[in-house]
């Protein structure tokens, strides 16, 4: 059963990219979420008008702190408010957690392959955090595709989480850091073959990002021999 609406109060915000930020809320009554789940966020105007949108949850723990990371859609109604206007102490409402498919549980024993594009990394960050917090011993690889170094969400935290079990590959589609060994470009089948787990390792694969990115990556993965059933996807935006 989906719970009632909970009030969330902004505890802190952090600018992540030129168009996106992360926001930590205190949500009394929140009973935690699995890594990869999302939540309905409801905004209410003084005259009673309401708008609801779903967002992936960046945090994965059983506390009452819930972190979102939101990218501003140019003609959006809710995301510009969350990114530009919301301040510490402001309140929104939450219902969830939602979704039982695009989730990773620390009891899973397969290698974990995460592939994110832009703000699509958010549910994958929750998985990496859950992996670290649980002490899971499965190896993790993240391939994170962004337009430029400035467009990466949670860049510092991701770099700090790299280690013997966690390997991160950055892919830049428009602009690379100075001195980067390869020119910018879209994620290719060749790159996927080089930096992700082979199909023979039977990884659990999660792909999240804009529709075009996810379509391309998922098609390449199937061509590389991955069982389509093992490739879980989450897409945003139209085509």
């Amino acid at each position: 059963m989906v719970s009632a609406w909970h009030v969330g109060t902004v505890v802190s915000t952090n600018t992540e990219t030129p168009t996106g930020r992360s926001i930590v809320f205190d949500v009394p009554g929140w009973t935690g979420n699995l890594a990869g789940q999302h939540v309905d966020v409801r905004l209410s105007a003084p005259d009673g008008y309401q708008a609801v949108r779903s967002y992936s949850i960046a945090s994965a723990n059983d506390s009452e702190r819930v972190e979102l990371a939101v990218d501003k859609l140019p003609d959006g109604e809710v995301s510009p408010y969350l990114v530009d206007d919301l301040q510490v102490g402001d309140q929104v409402e939450f219902r969830g957690p939602l979704g039982g498919w695009f989730v990773w549980k620390p009891t899973q024993e397969q290698p974990l392959q995460l592939i994110g594009g832009g703000s699509g990394v958010v549910p994958l960050v929750s998985m990496i955090r859950a992996h670290a917090a649980s002490g899971s011993s499965v190896p993790v690889k993240l391939l994170y595709s962004v337009r430029s170094p400035d467009d990466a969400f949670f860049a510092d935290e991701l770099r700090a989480l790299e280690g013997p079990l966690v390997e991160i590959t950055w892919a830049y589609t428009r602009q690379t850091p100075d001195g980067w060994p390869t020119p910018p470009g879209r994620v290719s089948q060749d790159l996927l073959a080089r930096v992700t787990f082979a199909a023979s390792a039977t990884p659990a694969v999660f792909v999240c990002g804009p529709t075009g990115f996810v379509e391309t990556v998922a098609t390449h993965l199937v061509a590389l021999g991955h069982d389509p059933v093992s490739v879980k996807t989450e897409r945003f935006g139209g085509k």
Binding site: L43, S44, A45, G48, V92, W101, K232, F236, K239
Partner: protein, 196 residues
């Protein structure tokens, strides 16, 4: 009593009576799929209805020979976007069920790629559902379920299975893929039947 989100004005107070509660209009056509898009060739494509009396199967041409009609309808996704006045072409389920004998009242739609979703049979009949293969005058894109998907526009759009492969008739209403993962058994947009 809802709390107020300080500084939130929202976009528009004009209520569109064609929009179910909690939905917003999009001009886009967002894509929602749980896995990779399957590659399907209409030369190998078949559609099967499985009942207590056995299967009835059509290939692409046989199915379309049952008669194709134009459909103009609104569609509503549980993720809160709606599109109004979309145009499709497809075979009505009424034409298919003229060739099917069954006493069973519940349907499990199943797709190439493994997706399933459940719906009562009465929600597929009387001009309420089609197997569609064209959207806005063009062959249906694979991302949107091409070569053919089910269209059940009076329910949330996850009930309109992409890459439709067949229907299984059941005595009971069994949960399909999203229904096992937190979404409503029936999915009526005007009643906001989104989640369990």
């Amino acid at each position: 009593m809802a709390i107020i989100s300080r500084g939130f004005a929202g976009r528009s107070r004009e209520h569109n009576p064609e929009l179910p509660p909690g939905q917003y209009l999009t001009e886009d056509f967002p894509v929602l799929s749980a896995g990779p898009t399957p590659e399907l060739d209409i030369a190998d494509w078949t559609f099967t209805v499985q009942t207590e009396n056995g299967p009835t199967k059509w290939n692409w041409d046989e199915l379309h020979d049952l008669g194709v009609e134009d459909v103009h309808t609104d569609i509503h996704c549980v993720t809160r976007w709606s599109k109004l006045g979309t145009s499709w072409r497809g075979v009505p389920l009424d034409a298919i069920f003229e060739h099917v004998e069954t006493e069973r009242e519940f349907v499990m739609e199943y797709s190439y790629g493994g997706y399933t979703t459940n719906v009562p049979l009465e929600d597929l009949l009387d001009g309420k559902a089609w197997i569609v293969s064209e959207f806005e005058g063009e062959p249906l894109d694979p991302e949107h379920g091409g070569p053919a998907r089910l269209l059940v526009p009076h329910l949330y759009f996850w009930k309109s299975a992409k890459w439709i492969r067949g229907l299984i008739m059941n005595d009971n209403d069994e949960p399909g893929f999203w229904e096992q993962n937190g979404y409503h058994m029936y999915g009526e947009p005007w009643a906001e039947q989104r989640y369990w």
